[in-house]
Point group: C2
Chain length 230, copies 2
Amino acid sequence: MSPLMSLPHSAKPADSVPLRYGALVHPGFQALDLFGPLDALNMLALYYPLELVILAETLEPVSTIPPSKPDGNPTTFGQSIVPTHTFVNAPPIDVLIVPGGVGNRIPENIAAAISFVAKVYPTLKYLITVCTGSVLVSQAGVLDGRRATSNKYVFSETQIRPQVNWVPHARWVVDGNIWTSSGVSAGIDVIFAFMAEKYGEEVADTISDVLEYERHKDADWDPYAEKFGL
Amino acid sequence: MSPLMSLPHSAKPADSVPLRYGALVHPGFQALDLFGPLDALNMLALYYPLELVILAETLEPVSTIPPSKPDGNPTTFGQSIVPTHTFVNAPPIDVLIVPGGVGNRIPENIAAAISFVAKVYPTLKYLITVCTGSVLVSQAGVLDGRRATSNKYVFSETQIRPQVNWVPHARWVVDGNIWTSSGVSAGIDVIFAFMAEKYGEEVADTISDVLEYERHKDADWDPYAEKFGL
């Protein structure tokens, strides 16, 4: 994508922004939940000295392939990403991104991830979830008493943690230092909203233009809540 | 994302649609170019018995990390995907998806990929490119004399193959069995347009709703052509 556009003068200086990112992956994660936000950050990393670690239970590649198809037959259609660190040897990070996916319906798939979120959250500057990533982190208790949203098609999964004030109609929700987004593609909008607030509105616009992505800038834009009967 | 919605009655039967997909990756590919389309197909694979191979020069993980930053310093911010086959042992496929990315500006990075495209194209039912993936495949000669588009911010890269009728204003272009899209996010729109034509319009709408993705359905929608002075 280079030669790069210049960043606008309004861009915040590198010593004032979060630089150390981590992404948590678990078997059966949703690909776009993760790679939408990460590709926006891939571009931001051409302007700021960002660092990224990919965190998982082990260093084995982690597949998007869900444990089973609705008819019970396994699908083999998926992609595998390579972790850089385990939950045990993760370095300090400023921002943790947690995708959703069908894999997090199986408790043993995400038990280690939940424990990691509970442990690391007090050390984070920000926690960002996409889709049912919010359901995963809610099980670490970090959303209790807060407003949060999740995937609209499977919003009923939020029932697993009624201590959270789940918001059925929202593209994304910010409560304190936790940013939760609606399903899948909403992750792209939440990362740009985060980028706009932390690095500058024009920074987010510049990068979304280069990605040829038309941002939804209104956190209340959510036709899917209605579409899925919420 | 299950329990899944039922596919509409208008969905085309599995024996009439392309089922075998391949995705070509090279060092420095753009993450969203690839994972936008693939995640739409991940969902389609829950309804149709789709197969996917990830093709690269070797079986080593392939990183999105571009060879260098504009100031010459390497960035370490990226993600690695695991190939399933090499260009040499690739099984037969119906549809090949080719992402772009800064990596394809370095000839030795993509020489094997170009040879593979030249060899495999006559055996494909369809070729789909995202972003500067079209610039890559153009060097295999498969776009000569055809209409095609590419990333708008670096549209000048298309000059490398003037035998192609490059279209500067288009979200995507279809010419024969080759579908080329504009930059990065446009890959999501082209895969849904392809899905709509080959599997059914309502299939594409159902899946884009589940991904909470607002499709651009007009191939001529392209504010980025103007934004980047084309």
